[in-house]
Symmetry: C2
Subunit: 334 residues, 2 copies
């Protein structure tokens, strides 16, 4: 069995550390793993497969001899390192938003469009986290009948803002319990005992970059260029699973039973039937897992017999980011 | 100026105590205030206008001589006491769901349909909390052009489950910080660091009683029998303000600017423009207030030029319950 030299770029962040964990957990066939980060972290160590790896400073030289680079850095750093990675002959599986909409870059959710991964030119993009979770949830329905329109309101965990987002919620909780001042640094305002309807940067049309990803990336993943998505992204005080309330209209009529069966059969998707006696998932039910849970499947009350309403949850750091990237890397080994 | 004898039925709960606070705050013209509750609480005292009132056990005799009874008890108790209240000649302004859809009972949001209050036969119903907040938010738009369809996903505070709901979240936070077991009694599962997409009882169509109130009560309040509403109700770890993500389709085309102007002019409604530099409200911005805040008004991406998307927040205990009831009582004094 061939073994691969894999580098994780951004190995100190929440997603980078989870990538290392998942490479080990899924026994990805590695002959070497390098943990790369900024100069600031060089010399520290990170866990991998029961040992620790030294963090090396990422430079243009870091990628020589590597087969696969898993990117867990921001869009700016991803753009800066791309030429060096591609020149080194490695495949760059990038979690940032930098290349997702580029025509020559596949945008892949392995349960949905694995074949796209094989058409890469050195870069494969990992989609936005809420988008991955929502698309895995609706993929089964889309296969029964194309989705024409979707309304999505998200309930997004603080892990979406990285390790600092998690730390900020925990610090605010601690301060509040101690009666101390609650400080805000990462989010636009306090998130403890609050929700914030603003994620990403605002665009001309009033939506945010984060909200438009659900439509733009969703179309590319599902190969459904005509799908319109109206999304509202909201941060909630939850650690690491995102939830999404979805209403959709398909091209053809579809019964609730058909939809539930399609969800049950869809890869990576679990129809919630008995979670401690509940038939709907919550973020806590789905944390530290790779599957997307779907519940509350019912006839939508606006779109008639082509309309469905559902609720889905999935771990943002795992399926929404690190696991999906490792799954893409697995496609390259087949 | 005429003064009124007012009883608060259920004076020990979160809403009942708030009703007493708001009667004093708004200088409702009272000559007498009685605080009624179950036998269990009789003898205790509650705050009113800088003093305390004794809690009296509510019996069929309690309402004699009263002009107005503000009800903050469950539907069962409301049904049980209704005959005694009406026989005593008092007007029953009831916050429970018991009578809201009865044809001879007005369902009133004073900023929207105050005239309905005057057609009462002894009982006036206070609508569901999320419904009040959403209808105040969309009332201005509805006056420009009738709303045909609405999708609503809620972010509901724990106060919607009463004092016990607030206590449960606070206890779970404290237990978690101390590393103790987090216990769940009121909600179907843990709410701290979680969200729960299930409020109310499940109906045949898969929706909950709470979700169908948005459509059924919304139609009655807006006098818009044809409005279809697809609602998903979700509990979030927030203390006392509800938020709602709303997408709607009006009968006629309406511009975003027209909609914003309509919201700005709508009674009880604030178009968020500068909340600490933000142009959208969060639950914390709107707690302990009576106004409903609206933000993120934008063109919906599904319904074309008849579609709008918006976000609104309002205090569940105040405008969603106690203040609205006291405002209804004020209509009776005019």
């Amino acid at each position: 069995m061939k073994e691969y030299k894999v580098a994780v770029l951004g190995a100190t962040g929440a997603v980078g550390q989870e990538m290392l964990k998942i490479l080990a957990e899924r026994r990805f066939p590695v002959s070497q793993v390098r943990a790369l980060a900024s100069a600031r972290s060089a010399g520290k160590r990170v866990y991998f497969a029961g040992e620790t790896l030294p963090i090396e400073e990422a430079t243009a030289e870091s990628f020589k001899g590597m087969d696969i680079v898993l990117g867990a850095v921001g869009a700016g750093a991803a753009r800066a390192f791309r030429p060096a990675i591609v020149d080194a002959g490695a495949v760059f599986v990038d979690n940032s938003s930098a290349f997702r909409m580029d025509e020559d870059v596949p945008l892949v959710v392995p349960e949905i469009n694995p074949e796209d991964a094989l058409r890469h030119h050195g870069v494969i993009a990992n989609p936005n986290c809420s988008t991955i979770i929502t698309m895995v949830a609706v993929n089964g329905i889309q296969r029964v009948s194309p989705i024409e329109a979707m309304v999505a309101s998200t309930y997004q965990a603080v892990s979406g803002a990285g390790r600092e987002g998690i730390d900020e919620l925990e610090a605010q909780i601690a301060a509040d319990v101690q009666g101390a001042d609650v400080e805000t640094h990462i989010f636009p305002c306090r998130i403890h005992k609050n929700v914030i309807p603003m994620i990403g940067d605002r665009l001309e049309n009033g939506y945010t970059t984060e909200e438009m990803k659900m439509q733009n990336e969703g179309r590319k993943i599902l190969h459904n260029a005509g799908m319109n998505v109206c999304c509202t992204c909201v941060r909630v005080p939850v650690i690491r699973s995102h939830s999404i309330s979805v209403q959709l209209r398909t091209r053809d009529a579809i019964s609730v039973e058909q939809a539930m069966e399609a969800i049950r059969l869809a890869p990576g998707c679990v129809l919630a039937q008995n979670l401690d006696g509940r038939d709907y998932p919550t973020p806590l039910d789905t944390s530290d897992q790779d599957q997307v849970y779907v519940g509350r499947v019912r006839r939508d009350l606006i779109f008639g017999d082509r309309g469905l309403s559902l609720w889905c949850c999935g771990d943002q750091i795992r399926k929404g980011a690190a696991t999906n990237a490792v799954q893409i890397a697995e496609l390259l080994t087949k």
